[in-house]
Symmetry: D2
Subunit: 317 residues, 4 copies
Amino acid sequence: MPSRLRLGFLGPHATFTEQALRTMPESHDAELVPLPGAPAVLAAVRDGSVDAGCVPIENTVEGAVPPVLDGLVEDPPLVIGREARIAVRFCLMGAAGTGFREIRTVASHGHGIAQTRGWLAAHLPGAEVRVSSSTAEAAAQAARGEVDAAVAAPLAATQHGLAVLADDIADNPGAVTRFVLLTRPGPPTAPTGWDRTTLAATTTNRPGTLLGLLTELSVRGIDLTRIESRPVKDRHAEYWFHLDCSGHVAEPAMGEALAALHRRCDQLRYLGSFPRSDEPAPVAGSGSPVVPPAAATLDDYAASERWLAAIREGAGT
Amino acid sequence: MPSRLRLGFLGPHATFTEQALRTMPESHDAELVPLPGAPAVLAAVRDGSVDAGCVPIENTVEGAVPPVLDGLVEDPPLVIGREARIAVRFCLMGAAGTGFREIRTVASHGHGIAQTRGWLAAHLPGAEVRVSSSTAEAAAQAARGEVDAAVAAPLAATQHGLAVLADDIADNPGAVTRFVLLTRPGPPTAPTGWDRTTLAATTTNRPGTLLGLLTELSVRGIDLTRIESRPVKDRHAEYWFHLDCSGHVAEPAMGEALAALHRRCDQLRYLGSFPRSDEPAPVAGSGSPVVPPAAATLDDYAASERWLAAIREGAGT
Amino acid sequence: MPSRLRLGFLGPHATFTEQALRTMPESHDAELVPLPGAPAVLAAVRDGSVDAGCVPIENTVEGAVPPVLDGLVEDPPLVIGREARIAVRFCLMGAAGTGFREIRTVASHGHGIAQTRGWLAAHLPGAEVRVSSSTAEAAAQAARGEVDAAVAAPLAATQHGLAVLADDIADNPGAVTRFVLLTRPGPPTAPTGWDRTTLAATTTNRPGTLLGLLTELSVRGIDLTRIESRPVKDRHAEYWFHLDCSGHVAEPAMGEALAALHRRCDQLRYLGSFPRSDEPAPVAGSGSPVVPPAAATLDDYAASERWLAAIREGAGT
Amino acid sequence: MPSRLRLGFLGPHATFTEQALRTMPESHDAELVPLPGAPAVLAAVRDGSVDAGCVPIENTVEGAVPPVLDGLVEDPPLVIGREARIAVRFCLMGAAGTGFREIRTVASHGHGIAQTRGWLAAHLPGAEVRVSSSTAEAAAQAARGEVDAAVAAPLAATQHGLAVLADDIADNPGAVTRFVLLTRPGPPTAPTGWDRTTLAATTTNRPGTLLGLLTELSVRGIDLTRIESRPVKDRHAEYWFHLDCSGHVAEPAMGEALAALHRRCDQLRYLGSFPRSDEPAPVAGSGSPVVPPAAATLDDYAASERWLAAIREGAGT
């Protein structure tokens, strides 16, 4: 009898990460294992103590999550198998009846602090802000009386028996966080036609190398949906470029582009191909393009491969 | 009688930022004003309560400083007038004779925590980590007994009468932080031949827009030394691209590139031209280039402008 | 009292070139001077014996006219001031009543021969074909009895009292020839919004130089409407690239592109900006572009120049 | 017993083309068949009446040979199997003792006329110039007394019993003509490491399409050694681009580029991969390149293909 899947997540229970993981089909019938921090989730996937692990990777307000990007390029390799998006809603919570003036200490995860910084400065100007390993842990601290209040998800108030002292306190309402499910390398899910491929690359520090990478993608009709740079540890002025691209490793355009980047980059990490969680956006027309696109279909690729094979064997064209 | 310059910095006294500011010629004879956090420094420059302000902008281990990038694109505009680099060295400090087992709380700035995370996990696994507004403030908290220890610069131990309990505890030794001096807009310093120009741009979210921006720079021989993307507040899936480029706004190549980006971008923020603090690196040769460079000198530009003016007036060529 | 303009053309009278010249406004009230061959026309403009000269430059069937391209890059410089298009119609002409079997010699200009090669091979397989300096001269030779027939424009039959033995004998009906009016350098005509600029350039013989030239044009939204390569005399494996571009030298996009090419090329010849004689074609949409265009208007350019001037003087953005 | 190869060439005997063909290894023991003009050579290869055919394709003074370029893109397809270069030397020849003043008619092939135009104008200003189907035919005409003199190769004087009246009369001494040996499609010769691949392509008439083609080549490290444009018959303002590229169809970089062009072009004709007849030129260094090259070796390609296959099967990277 096969054992249930064990899925780690940035815990404890009641984090936004657990909420995201529960929207993924892999979580059904799986054992969900809270772990203390994103590095712990990556380590547990790597050492096999869980089958997969869920962590946040970027937020529409705060940007990328640096420890996740940095952890992804460490060894042994990991790949992303799925992504999910969750709207983020922060509340201030504490013992029922607590007045703002009584709050001298308030805890949250670094991202919770960052996204409510303006509200906290305006409403709790004198409070000491303490960083917790997660928003759920901050709520637990408030429940244990170690801090006077916490900034966390509404679910955490319910779970820890706290009162919501102020709701929806994010400085930028409507923030969305994207979460990814990491696994050890294995065959990717089949292409769906609306997929994302995530890569990380380093190049020699020479003029034009980034332009070269982007040109390899664009001539093959691959769109870049996100780019981040992170310093390479111990090598000053060198960067890992984290790239999110349209398309799937099983497709010929992406395969050709990946092989080209492999030849061009110092280091190239393939970090997975998986279905996109955002809605397809209509692409606005663009007047007169400078370099017309290689908007080739799978049939176009198949036809061009057959043509090439034929001329290599001596057929006329 | 002219009053002394007032220069704000991410305080309190004894931060790495103060150390960086003191290496800048502007600090001589100036009044140095510690301010609580990078947003406070930017606000003080904007409202005129200081003449300029110094903040960290990127670190070779931790990457960019998001609140500084995000603050730079707010209004009214600011520009960078100078940069400096400081090697970062972290110590654990506390009351003399404190043993590691006695340390239940340790404070630092978020970047100090991030850069010593491994060391803290290994040596103080049970300690609660609290975020402070600066490493110097963390040392002050330790001196006041509010926490058992702090992670801060060596100078902070001296200043607050603390003992260094462990020296050089950064997970990645050799980290360097780059700091910038911000002012309200004004004429840039004269070009030195080894300058940097900092920009931030948003573009419509269409395939190839980033490639278009980089091509505008590269055809004019301008190198991109750093690129960061930060989400545009309230507009999902749109990004501010923060670009550091070789060259100076007063030079024709950069002027032409800036005007081209102005036509091509939704929003473009010019964030200053100033002398580079890094050493010129020899550029490695590159075999057979794909697009040969526009490695034009100032004389080349002057000659081409004269030639253009002549043919517009009807001269033969 | 000003003298009438003297306009040279590839003569003698009744050539397609005279027909083209008569469509140009400069020909009204001008003295039209037939000259023996395109090199003679270019020489007469250069030495001032005529004010301007008309020659064919390309044909939709035969392609470019090499002696004209090669002559344009010689010294002293010339520029194109106007262009015109003429539909080309060839007839076989000779003494009235001449049967095809009686024709043992037939004369025409090289282009006339080239464009009726198939017809001549099919209908006059045994005839000797002689090259003349013009189609009109070929008709004159037929009128003088030096050859049995000529291939020339219908007008030449009328003028020389010849019978049309076969009409419309071009192998590709519908051929159009483009003619240009050359002058010594002088101020260009004002931009009309639908202009062409003609250039010739040499570059060092290195990989990627041509791609570099085309990128300079495309980033500035300038379309290339024609490219020809011609060998550089005495320098093997080097080429003059003859480029026809959309736009006018007085416009900022073209000015910037010309200055950039001037810095990038070994030799650059500006050969004139003048109104296009073809109809504006609707540009088909292009799906997802790779490098979005710099489809900037004159207002966009003016705005970007003002913006650049402002930030160079210290204004905020 | 296998029959000897039959090789056609632009005849009659004693042309530069025969001279070029005799330098090719295929000509040893082959039957050499003179044919009247380049179109006749192409037709004979197409209909199988010869096994291969030799024609001139470009000259360092006169440029491309339009009828050969235009004939190559007709049907059924042909490919180039070999190329050779011949230094061209023109003489004026006629009956012994003929004085320049006695020469009223002089014959040559169009290219011979073009390359001695200046000399003829200076020394035989009054002579009528007649076009022949080849320089050797011109010499035969002179021997038969049909013209007073011919411009042809020295060999033709010997063969036809004519005197050399003036030697080395080309306007540009040192001209070299490149000849190609055409066959019906078949497997290409094996790559030698210094090969050329010849292509012809049409694209939709849209801004940037040519830049797109060149970018497909350059990102794969393929150099363009020659580009010509020729009008597409019956379609105004559309062009066949004739491209000579470094590399061989059997190599992965060229294969990938050809497949990409096949997807991007309206029509693409592969016209053969064969050893280059020119000496490898040292490529000059290029300072700081804009787009660094994809100077990948065959091993690099093999490694990248293995890597891609591995990640597609689920291996980690």
